[in-house]
Symmetry: D2
Subunit: 357 residues, 4 copies
């Protein structure tokens, strides 16, 4: 009922996980930005199922086709329509789920809202929809990169394995299966995921996304605050249960004298010395790195037997076989980046004209 995100830089997604295709229409993208299908593919490949041994084995190449809005390699200012065909849609695995509600899954709520549900892989509630966001986000990233803004995510925790913040290696993030900035921690995370899969269980995790280079002044108080819109963008990703900006929940046990970031001048620019604010004060960017952290719950689809009820209300149990990620945190990295990039691109455009000059 509400499949459009953003105000100036907007996108609308469509498509079910087991229909012929999914897609997205990006509207409000300025004319003159270099975009080609390969730009989208890079991030789609990072989100793609089957990319590593810690992800689901559904084999989708997630090839993005651009149908409009790009002419001779540049955006034209008209809507950009992108289509991604569904290929590996073996719906037969879902037959036993047709008449019951999987615990932790949107089966029940979609049925409660619309009086039916697409049991084949979840329909719109499937995380497959996030491929559309990643494609849209890749365009936002191009726009931002031209303005010196870069968005990078990584995994900082899986189950109880937490990266301690040391040994940050940007290059390492994409080198390991878990997208952790530290190789050693990544290895432990991988082991934990593989062990959980073996047990037929699943794990949660924590992801951070950092945007560097965003100018001060982004955000529209009071009800288009940058932090509020980032929170919405991130909480709206499948499986996310918590979002923090900067210090997040740690702020609760800090004192004002600790938490306040002192201002200083660096190269003629006002800069906060520390960044508990996570780059945002009063809902507006400070120019410091924007830091968003979020938690994903363990995948709800697991082969372990669980209690539930059927559509007609009888007690039953279910084992969700299908092909599911034992932990969605690693694939959530490009999705989180996409959503942050889309919010920032939107605010870059919305901020124009805030002063009469």
């Amino acid at each position: 009922m509400s499949n459009t995100f953003g105000r100036k830089f907007r996108f609308t997604t469509w498509g079910e996980s087991h229909g012929p295709a999914i897609g997205v229409v990006v509207d409000g993208c300025p004319a003159g930005i270099s975009v080609e299908e390969a730009d989208l593919q890079r991030d789609l490949d990072r989100r793609r199922p089957g990319q590593s041994k810690v992800t689901t084995q559904r084999a989708e190449e997630d090839r993005a086709e651009i149908f409009s809005g790009v002419f001779e390699g540049k955006t034209t200012g008209t809507p950009i329509s992108i289509l991604i065909r569904n290929k590996d849609t073996d719906s037969s695995k879902y037959d036993n789920l047709k008449n019951l509600f999987r615990p932790g899954h949107a089966d029940f709520t979609y049925w409660a809202k619309w009086g039916h549900r697409d049991h084949r892989g979840g329909g719109r509630s499937s995380a497959r929809e996030t491929a559309s966001r990643v494609a849209a986000g890749a365009i936002a990233k191009k726009y931002l990169a031209d303005r010196g803004i870069n968005v990078q995510g990584f995994v900082s925790q899986i189950a109880d394995i937490t990266w301690d913040g040391s040994n940050f290696d940007l290059e390492e993030i994409e080198r390991n299966s878990c997208r952790c900035p530290d190789a050693e921690t990544a290895l432990k995370m991988e082991e934990a995921i593989l062990a959980a899969r073996k047990e037929g269980d699943s794990l949660g995790g924590i992801i951070s996304v950092i945007a560097i280079g965003a100018p001060p002044g982004l955000g529209e108080p009071i009800y288009g605050r940058l932090d509020a819109e980032l929170a919405s963008a991130i909480m709206g990703i499948n499986a996310v249960k918590g979002v923090e900006i900067g210090s997040g929940f740690r702020a609760a046990s800090m004192k004002g004298s600790e938490h306040n970031d002192a201002f200083e001048m660096v190269d003629g620019i006002v800069v906060p010395r520390t960044n508990n604010a996570g780059g945002i004060l009063g809902g507006i960017s400070t120019g410091a790195p924007i830091v968003v952290t979020f938690a994903v719950k363990p995948t709800s689809s697991i082969p372990i037997e669980q209690e539930t009820v059927t559509v007609s209300g009888e007690k039953t149990t279910v084992r969700v076989e299908g092909r599911h990620d034992p932990c969605v945190a690693t694939r959530a990295v490009p999705i989180g980046e996409a959503m942050v990039a889309l919010v920032l691109a939107d605010h870059m455009l919305r901020g124009l004209g805030s002063r009469a000059k």
Copy 2:
């Protein structure tokens, strides 16, 4: 630049903390709801400065006047304009802040965005604006109460003092100065706040808001999800740095087999047995209590000396004297309730017509 919240049940706030008044226009409220000024006053009094010894001593009675949209005690379907006069606006205390940026405060970002700032009490960035939301929220609560939905908040943590979840006493919440459901914990919280004030420092805290009675089916996937809009509504409150739905960040270290809430039938209704989901699956309400938790940072305005720079870039220090809350968590309770109520009222209306029938 963006002072309107909501799609069907919408409100627009206006006014600066040191101007003649602040106010809110509520639009899209159905006709026929009983509303009187006393309904608004109840929650305004809970948010009001000077209400207890742990809050700022600014003396505002925050009297709400309804100018339109209510006729003979009932809403008419036309916009409801509410005005709250500013009375205790002693701007002289702010003179020393005119040319510098308070650390942790929106001074700098407002100045970066608009080329000026209202140094008198923060202008729009002041938490005084939240009185407008509370007034609007009171109308939303009336609408919800008529439909059996109630929204209640409380404080679960201040600094390191954490309510352990036992001794929940609904009546206790409004009996103590800290809005904690357990009297004993509340007392410790109060002591901590008073001690911090004595030191010229401030504390953060954690608040939970629970909505009971919301039907299954609220929320508009993919980009009008109930969890995403709650996250936005809450993160947009002054000083909030983190938001959780249900299990929140704890989900990161849980297993799927633990986190999934089994479904069962109770009195002919499908009900999740546990509520790690916090009442929301796939962005749609399940019918279980909706649980939102959020962290507020310690108040940034503190009398302890802090380093900063002036508007022209010189190093300086500042002590923020004024009249500020040593901890905003207690007053954040009615604000959080208001925002949750406003989101739910909006979704109650937006959800109409989702099935052709």
Copy 3:
């Protein structure tokens, strides 16, 4: 249910004709524009009842008070709240209308929609609401004037008295009671209106609004076209039944070879030689004057006896006494200008960032 207009430069109006006040909140106005109450008053006086012998004699001074968003004579980028008190609200005249539906009036439709209506002067359906738009429009005009854009309206027809297009005298428009650019025609219009009032009847008319100086490039195809939004803005004014851009309905009987405006270069700028397009092609401004023409119906409230039914469905007749304009065309001029100015200001801001450059 929908009292907000515009996307970037937005305004929300509130208030009933017989409540304590009406008002408007302007949001999205850039910071740094010089605005004072006198700027609003100029146009409010042109819309004000009782301004001349051809208007209603309700005596409202329509004094605009600015409550927020302007500091030291300049807009701050925060919402501008404007309040206009209702003074001459003698509701007793409306008592006989309480239980019936006035023909041609919104009584019936408001009742059908909301199950009640404010019989005292029409509540929100009263043209009194347009004072709020005129106040908002005055701010838009200031913003536009700083950018060399001027908006001027006039009356070209009342009943069958039509200005023939000759003797255009800009100064004359505000000199005569009918706002016609030709003094002689104005006199005949005035006579017609006074004669109609004597008969207890009312007249319709046609108004044109011309915006000069708007740059080429305003408008957002396909669904934010400039012509479409002007049409909406104008058709939404009370009593309007038709809207034209440029050639309007005359286009139906023209040939392409006549209607097409040839392009030529004038002072290095591409300019259409004629202006059948009314300054808009493909929904985007050409840089030529933007010409909007609209028709208002004769005032529905007339003292002549008319047939109707009561709220409970019985046949009855009604004479609407009250104080009503015998022709709303003359007062519609500043309202039409305001709506055109508000649309243009909105599009000036929305157009920013359309090219990546």
Copy 4:
């Protein structure tokens, strides 16, 4: 930059006239409506080029493919993605237009806005985009038909040939090439169009769209009025220069005593005896037929030689050969119907919940 229309029942169109395809995503359509591709095809065939001797001979079969949102013949409440492939896209005919601005065409304004233009058939400014609206409108019509609301358009004037209002024959409309309700008038219209084409010229026309069965109460004053949104929807169709509701411009020369529609009771329902209001009072439907009339200008693309300038500002002349309609009025009928249906469907949904009970 703004390719989405509607608030609850929304659609977003994309695609250029000479790209691989065009399409539309319909969002907010309730679940449970029977829709199949044949439903869309009926109206697409009425809009299709090459359908009769008075239209362009571009041969497009305009086959609509539904990619999502419909499952087992019923809408699911998720976005409905529709794709229409472009087949007969001979761009070579447009080569001579590459460097000049066609008079009366959006070439210049698109170039002014975005710094480029798609000279191949106009890109987004081409009326080809309207196929997407017709497809979306067909779904709206299904929704409305289930609720007893029918939308029908016809041509009432072409050049100076005007249907006199007599001999209305509903069946006749689709029997003749001009969609005129009177066969004899239709024949004269056809002759006029063929004669104009022979001369290399084009003609304008007037179309009416009538919606029967809409309940009283549709429309959201003040800024979501039904008349305002219909005006926007219709004025936003390519080539439209004027829009009227009910009496339209004739209202200007009527008296109040003539124009007011007396109310009476018919079968227990309050009904206006006449319908000068065109079914709308105060921006809200009365329950009477909704009557919208609009004028289209003569097609701007004509083979007659016209003066213009090149992109670099030199004087030149142009003959637009291509394949163009000599008069767009006949194909505008299904487009006008679609837009009216889309506005009504949106308001049917938006109106839900306007009263508390």
